[in-house]
Symmetry: C2
Subunit: 196 residues, 2 copies
């Protein structure tokens, strides 16, 4: 039989951001911790996963359907923020700058990876806009090639319906250093300059 | 119910070397991967752990008792290398410089943490030396305070029996830079200098 350390390390290696050394350290941890701790670790993941689902309205991960945000009437029902993935919703919520609704696409357009409009929750978005009070759609896809393409595609789809479409600003990150900023970011920051 | 992401992230946070951001990323991974992948991950850890045990002779992690190294007659039965933890055995084996037997202490003396000789596999070591053909004990505990204290303690215990006791050398690591070496390492490297 193959070494238990290597068998477990191989599983950890498949997780994002875990290299071979970390994977081995985690494997030893799993083998040397008390049985109880390891059981708690494994069962908690299993159960949390079993109790989680995607909200049928916004597509975000949730423990209820509709999710707490979609069912919260106190949120601004007139703005809808479109993001690529569930963690993006969490990041937006943490910024405390946005109080409207969300729509999670579950990806961005990437023809080379075979991801076209049908692979994303775009049909659901359009359907949702038809029967809602949304007046502004804020497109908060990532500021990379795929995210920008998706933003452009969506704006062309939505604008004809008369709904305002905006894109979150490109600019320098907080704590950034102009001398070390890449030129695309800096160009975006200049284009998006504001009078003060 | 608490957010599934946070529940899983909390579990990952307890693992060594996983910060809050990595823990969240891993939690999303566990929630968004296909059920099959997650089940494989959880079951593999569970099963590999269930099939693993400590060798009753050397104390190393193994899938059999005695472990493959202790049961391998072709290994040098006259030298015994004492290490702190199971990963140390793996590191020694990878160096391909040592072909004898091992003894894993499962720790190092650390009175402040309540770890005295009784908490380590020292009684087992002495017992093993009494009834073996071992002529040299190589102490390969870590080159830190606890490891050095343990090495000194063991050498005083073992030497009276006439068995040779050696300590792995302190020196500069391969690829190291003398200008950046700490002074304890450098002092050790000078003390351990060899004629060339």
């Amino acid at each position: 039989m193959k070494d238990a350390v290597e068998i477990i390390a191989e599983q950890f290696r498949r997780l994002p951001g875990i290299g071979i050394k970390s994977a081995r350290r985690l494997a030893y941890f799993m083998l040397e911790r008390p049985q109880e701790d390891v059981d708690t670790f494994l069962n908690t993941i299993k159960e949390a996963r079993a109790h989680s689902c995607y909200c049928s309205i916004c597509g975000n991960l949730s423990t209820s359907d509709p999710c707490p945000i979609c069912s919260d009437d106190s949120r601004d029902q007139h703005t809808l923020c479109v993001v690529e993935q569930p963690p993006d919703v969490q990041a937006m919520e943490k910024s405390q700058e946005y109080h409207g609704l969300y729509h999670v696409l579950h990806g961005a357009l990437s023809p080379l990876d075979g991801i076209g409009p049908e692979q994303l929750r775009i049909k659901e978005l359009l359907h949702r806009l038809e029967s809602s009070q949304v007046k502004e759609v804020i497109i908060a896809t990532d500021p990379d090639t795929e995210g920008e393409a998706t933003a452009y595609y969506l704006s062309r789809l939505i604008k004809p319906s008369g709904i305002k479409v905006t894109r979150i600003a490109r600019g320098l990150p907080a704590g950034g250093d102009i001398g070390y900023a890449d030129s695309i970011t800096l160009a975006g920051a200049v284009q998006n300059r504001k009078e003060i």
